[in-house]
């Protein structure tokens, strides 16, 4: 609501602001605690009184985590899986989005309906069968095997997201270019494609985040130590914590390494993702 001329701080507004600040602190605290703990040595972290400000902290935990070698192996696997998944997901989803937003054809509604339903399928209801599928194809613990599952998992929402972007570029623009002598393909690549670039970037980042953070399917498919993705690598720290004393400083440094790039990417696309999920409901 726009500020009115005589909008003095009403008591209601002040109370709401105070409550908002308190809730901000509560919600931020875990993220802050991760960063703060990652800078402190284990002796400080396991002292009787917690240290709330990491004054005199160091990057030793990061050095220890990075020098163990397992991080880079997991990073390599995650990068390979994610890049393959994002590339094919974007390519296939873009084609499909073009089809459903630029053409009217028989079966179009059924396809859209199927996409929306598939998007809701829970990995937890499928991973047993996907495990058997890849195991019979000899693709367990295999980057390619996991990537294929990720492409399929992310395509539906990506199609839905891209469809919105493609529909946002009026077909008239293309037709105008064609009247001016462009071929259909030429018009598409010179007019429509550049206008779609932001949509492709947003969808690509979305697909990236999904594949990069995925835990459930990876847990089932990548069981060998050598083929761990980053989330599985991070989990091993917690598994160890059940049985022996954990170096929480290193665990938090490891979490920070996994989380920070994700947070940055996420902030780039957040707005578009939200509107895609509840578009129908918000516009009513």
């Amino acid at each position: 609501m726009a500020a009115k001329a005589k909008d003095k701080m009403r008591p209601g507004k002040a109370a709401a602001s105070a409550a908002a600040v308190v809730l901000t602190l509560i919600w931020v605290f875990p993220v802050y605690w991760m960063l703060s703990s990652s800078l402190l040595p284990n002796t400080v972290l396991t002292a009787t009184t917690p240290t709330f400000f990491p004054a005199g902290g160091s990057l030793n935990n990061f050095a220890a985590v990075l020098s163990s070698g397992t991080f880079f192996a997991a990073l390599g696997t995650s990068l390979a899986v994610t890049l393959i998944a994002v590339f094919f997901c974007l390519l296939f989803a873009f084609c499909a989005a073009l089809a459903i937003s630029r053409y009217h054809f028989k079966g179009r509604t059924s396809f859209v309906l199927a996409v929306l339903f598939i998007q809701m399928l829970p990995a937890e209801g499928l991973f047993i069968a996907q495990y058997k599928l890849l195991s019979s194809a000899g693709l367990l613990n295999n980057v390619l095997g996991l990537s294929v599952l990720y492409v399929a998992a992310v395509i539906p929402f990506t199609v839905w997201m891209l469809r919105g972007f493609v529909a946002g570029v009026p077909a008239d623009l293309e037709e105008a270019a064609m009247v001016d002598g462009c071929s259909r393909t030429g018009a598409f690549f010179r007019i429509t494609f550049p206008l779609l670039a932001p949509g492709l970037v947003a969808s690509g980042v979305y697909a990236f985040l999904q594949a990069w953070n995925e835990f459930t399917i990876a847990l089932v498919i990548m069981q060998s130590e050598a083929s761990r993705t980053l989330p599985l690598w991070l989990r091993t720290f917690i598994q160890a914590s059940a049985t022996r004393e954990t170096d929480w400083g290193q665990v938090m440094a490891a979490s920070t390494l996994v989380a920070v790039p994700v947070i940055i990417f996420f902030l780039l696309v957040q707005g578009r993702m939200t509107s895609g999920l509840v578009a129908g409901a918000v516009k009513g």
Binding site: V21, W27, V28, L121, G125, A129, A152, A242
Partner: protein
């Protein structure tokens, strides 16, 4: 301009092929396997034996599985309702607070939302750690002696921790969605009602709620669907040393039955149950998106 349209089908083919291979085929396999006896013997080459609905009968007469289903449904409903209530509260706060406070809250929400789930889990396990966790320390300072309290030992307290984590992660999406809905409520209407003497509560109940009802329903539904399939959080809390027979929910139960114990017939029957349940729950959501599409 009427042409024979091959292009759209050609454009759809790659996506459809991947979806068929990686999703439709497994779903079909799963349905078939759920009708067979598929245990360790079959793992070593024996053909699965067709047993009809036997797995389903076994699933639905097994008290342990009813326990898992009951806990999953309860967990999912409690989490969904708590998430939506808190999310709505935060959305209203964003709407009512001064600009700086709203911005701070939105940044905090975005950070929590952006945290990868596994990283968030390690942080929460550290916060709730029984020896050195800051939560036990803060509670002890506040007068409740929690020194050395193990939160994961008792199933109820295990689920409490899981709920705190799931709600913390899920609230931002709900809050932003409802906030987007709130911005559609015209301030003139609220002012008019205020001039006519409507109290804050009356304005909330008779103007705001009806206007954001569609968003509320959708986020509640999505939350129910997402919380029913909760896996990573439960799995990682169990990794940290909780007893899993008393804390399994649907996802972890299927994982342990199938990949862990090799009983694929039973695991497949449970998976089919989860899929069917999800599809039924998703129907209203899909309908609302189709409304947007047409």
């Amino acid at each position: 301009m009427k042409r024979i349209q091959i292009t759209p089908y050609a454009l759809l083919t790659p996506a459809i092929v991947v979806l068929l291979a990686a999703l439709a085929y497994p779903v079909g396999w799963q349905f078939w396997t759920s009708l067979t006896k598929y245990g360790l013997k079959q793992q070593f080459g024996q053909p699965p034996e067709f047993v009809g609905a036997e797995n389903y009968a076994a699933v639905f007469t097994n008290p342990e599985i009813w326990g898992v289903i009951g806990r999953s449904v309860a967990f999912c409903l409690v989490n969904a309702v708590v998430t939506v209530l808190i999310g709505m509260g935060l959305a209203l706060l964003m709407n009512a607070a001064a600009k700086a406070a709203r911005l701070a809250l939105q940044v905090a929400m975005l950070l929590a939302w952006a945290m990868p789930v596994v990283a968030a889990m390690t942080v929460w396990l550290w916060l709730f750690n029984w020896h050195h966790g800051v939560i036990n320390w803060l509670l002890t300072q506040a007068g409740v002696d929690m020194t050395g309290h193990n939160w994961l030992e008792d199933p109820l307290s295990f689920y409490f921790v899981a709920t705190v984590i799931v709600v913390w992660m899920s609230v931002p999406f709900v809050a932003f969605s409802i906030f987007a809905g709130l911005t559609q409520v015209a301030p003139e209407i609220l002012e008019a009602a205020e001039v006519d003497g409507a109290t804050g509560w009356q304005r909330f109940r008779t103007i705001i709620i009806p206007m954001i009802r569609p968003v509320l329903m959708i986020v509640l539904l999505l939350q129910v669907i997402w919380d029913l399939r909760v896996f990573t959080q439960i799995q990682m809390l169990q990794d940290a040393g909780a007893d899993y027979t008393s804390t399994n929910l649907l996802g972890t139960f299927i994982y342990r039955t199938g990949v862990g114990a090799g009983d694929f017939g039973m695991a497949a029957a449970m998976s089919v149950f989860v899929l069917v349940l999800t599809m039924l729950l998703s129907a209203p959501y899909v309908r609302s998106l189709m409304k947007e599409e047409n």
